[in-house]
Amino acid sequence: MQNFKALSNKDKGRYIANWMLDHAMIIIIILMAIYVQSQKPAFFKIPSLVNILSLTAVRLPMALGVAGCIILAGTDLSGGRVAGLTAFISAILLQKAGASGKFLPNLTPPNLLLVILAVMAIGAIVGLVNGFCMGKFKLHPFIVTLATQMITYGVYLTVSGSKQISSLDTSYTTSFVTKSLFKIGPTSVPMYVLLAIILTAIVWFIWNKTTFGKNMFAVGSNEEAARVSGVNVLLTIVGVFMMAGALYGYTGFVEAARLGGSTATLGLNYESDAIAAVVIGGVSFVGGTGKISGVILGVFMMQLIMSGMTFLGISGNVTYIIKGAVILVACILDMRKYMVKK
């Protein structure tokens, strides 16, 4: 707006109202945070803030993966179950030698790096199936990823027999993933925060500096234009979903270590949290737009809500209602920007 002062009062009001609506999600969340702070003064103290940041780091990789899919004007529902599967795989591979009821009794824990690469590869394979079905057979992302979500969960249940896995090797948990990097006051910042920062930097580079990243935005903005210009659209779609899958795989690896094992509910609804965070962060379902900084902000805001509700002692059941409402409001506010007004 060039000349705010030159506007009539009516237009000024409209301009301010529009600005508020464009930033409504963030305004609402900040107001909520202020409310929580007024009720529970411990909310904005160091232990709580570090906790929120750490949880943001846990959820960020999956959100980055989902964000790529949404930039393609698609979506991905398979994330949570992929993380559940890879958490299980990480856990059985890295169970303590001699733990009672060890899932793979004769296995000595292999190299950590090998396990990370393996579970990321498994996630990428699910992404490959997702991307290929979409790009090749023009299936709707919703249907494809709903199907692979079910298949992934089914594979997990079949292989695990719904067994809980615990007693993980400490070289995996306290000596690596949850190892303290440094302390802020009494609270330690775990290793997985650093890992999340590294992954985010890599994804930022891919999005903004590589031909693949630029092709991803172009395909999301106008698939036909990209095709006419000679972009390999199929490869781009497959690549984006594989990258997302690998990030889900990584999430499973971190979650098993952080939670000390794997259960059938690990990963449940992670994908919807990620989608909500990404939408709050300004990545539009219209496709073709989105920024890493937005995704980070979105995940952080989402975590702020979650932690705030925990602080207020709101029950987990009510949390679902609020999360659902947040997704709905975020999408409405987003579409508002793209609606062609007549």
Partner: protein, 504 residues
């Protein structure tokens, strides 16, 4: 024509779609350093021929030679790499990305030696500026496409074609959204490319332009090659005769409607909430055909949409027969006796998969109820029959899907649909767009008949001869404002063009 001067030769091209022979032994020969106009009515096969060149369609028979070598492109990228580019009428761009991202899409310049897939923004910026300087295009390469006007986006598309070092550049209706100055700039660029030895294939319906800019003209009709002539030997009448295949003595029916002195509608200072339409006032007489001229995006369509309540008004008043009316929504406007024939027939006019009867009765369903809630098939069939007869719709039956009809017949179905709502004021947005010359005449006749029955018509059109030939009075829009009004019986195209550029 000496063989070495020939850049592109397409011969014996045939293409059949289920039920239609789209191209029948078509040919085209483009000389080096010339502008070659490709002309024909809609459906004559111009765009099918171009799609065969670019490999979007695979031809059934025929040969294409570029620089003497036979070619057979599989997709438009392959064509681009071989120096054959096309600027489409509907610009196909990634609107959320910036200018240079669009130009180099699919072939981004890479960092360093180019072995890694890392994009060099600097190389991309410099290369873009080089092309823009050459062409005299003043656009910042980092501007996001969606924030630019269509004319600039088109320049970007032309720059993209040039950046491929194209030998052949196809321009499809390039001036439809340009102002006069922009057209001049485009022609300068075309002349420059011609001097460099490029072959320009120029597809347009605007005959003045064609006669001015082109060297050769190839005319097609019904998928067949008709003739290639030097533009300097052709006249407009000659082109029309070749395109239509018969002498077209009367392009318009006689204007024998009687305009009454009574105002049926008064528009006072309407300004749109979300578009640039600003402070438009005029009146409409009973039995009058009022034309609305102007360039694309001059606010013509917005004017109709605001009157009809399809777009939101910020301020302004409407009166019908002296009484104020609201027309805040389409539903209210229909009740007030208005009808709006939309510009995009396929997108907002027809229900493609529904049949003619369903398409005809959709706006007046309440009239066909029995016992107040059961739709009567008999009543609907009767009214549809009336519409088919009155509009002279050529269709095998009422149950035929509307999308299988020609554009002209589809338009008549929609006109019939609106007449069943018994409107007094018809708002027609480009009623003859995409319709053959012959069918156009029938639409003109229908419009005149409506006026003779005492209905009033406001008709938007990009074709000035059509407005002059059919309307009683013409409003000229420019930059969202009313630039002036002319008497259609005495005005000239130049007068209208001058007004259209007033606020553009």
């Amino acid at each position: 024509m000496a063989e070495q001067n020939i850049l592109l030769r397409m011969e014996g091209i045939c293409k059949t779609f289920p039920g239609v022979k789209a191209l029948d032994n078509a040919q085209l020969t483009v000389r080096k350093g010339t502008v070659h106009a490709l002309m024909g009515e809609n459906g004559a096969g111009k765009s099918t021929l171009m799609k065969c060149l670019f490999g979007i369609y695979s031809k059934d028979a025929g040969h294409i030679y570029l620089d003497g070598k036979e070619i057979n492109f599989k997709n438009s990228r392959e064509a681009l790499d071989n120096g054959v580019a096309m600027v489409h009428q509907e610009l196909n761009q990634a609107l959320k990305r910036n200018v240079m991202d669009n130009i180099w899409l699919g072939r981004y310049p890479k960092m360093g030696s180019g072995k890694l897939p890392v994009v060099s923004e600097k190389k991309m910026y410099d290369a873009t500026m080089k092309v823009f300087d050459e062409l005299g295009v003043k656009v910042n390469p980092k501007t996001v496409m969606s924030t630019m006007p269509v004319s600039q986006r088109q320049m970007v598309e032309i720059a993209k074609a040039v950046s491929f070092n194209s030998k052949i550049i196809v321009l499809d209706e390039p001036t439809s959204s340009l102002t006069e100055t922009e057209v001049e700039h485009l022609f300068e660029i075309i002349n420059m490319l011609r001097d460099r030895g490029c072959g320009i294939i120029y597809i347009s319906h605007k005959m003045e332009e064609i006669l001015r800019i082109s060297d050769d003209v190839t005319i097609m009709r019904d998928g067949q090659y008709i003739a290639t002539r030097a533009a300097k030997d052709l006249t407009m009448d000659e082109i029309i005769r070749l395109m239509v295949g018969r002498e077209l003595t009367n392009r318009f029916p006689p204007k024998d409607n009687v305009v009454s002195n009574e105002n049926i509608m008064e528009v006072q200072g309407i300004t749109a909430m979300y578009s640039h339409l600003k402070d438009v006032s005029f009146s409409l007489k009973k039995g009058e055909i009022l034309g609305v001229a102007g360039l694309d995006s001059s606010g013509r369509t917005e004017l109709l949409e605001n009157i009809f309540g399809y777009a939101t008004r910020k301020s302004g008043k409407l009166f019908k027969n002296g009484k104020p009316i609201g027309n805040k929504t389409s539903r209210e406007s229909i009740q007030n006796g208005f009808a709006l024939l939309t510009e995009e027939r396929r997108a907002t006019g027809i229900f493609g998969i529904l049949n003619i009867q369903e398409n005809t009765v959709i706006s007046s369903l309440k009239k066909y109820l029995n016992y107040g809630f059961v739709l009567s098939n008999k009543k609907m069939a009767e009214k549809t029959k009336w519409s088919i007869d009155a509009m002279h719709i050529k269709t095998p039956s009422q149950k035929t899907k509307i999308r299988s009809l020609s554009g002209g017949n589809q338009q008549k179905v929609i006109l019939g649909r609106w007449l069943l709502t018994q409107p007094d004021i018809l708002l027609l947005d480009e009623p003859t767009r995409g319709i053959d010359v012959g069918a156009k005449y029938e639409i003109y006749q229908l419009i005149l008949d409506l006026a003779k029955q005492g209905k009033s018509v406001i008709m938007v059109s990009s074709e000035m001869p059509e407005l002059l030939g059919v309307c009683n009075r013409i409003l000229v829009m420019s930059g969202g404002r009313l630039a002036g009004e002319v008497n259609a019986d005495t005005a000239t195209q130049e007068e209208i063009m001058t007004l259209a550029a007033k606020y553009a």
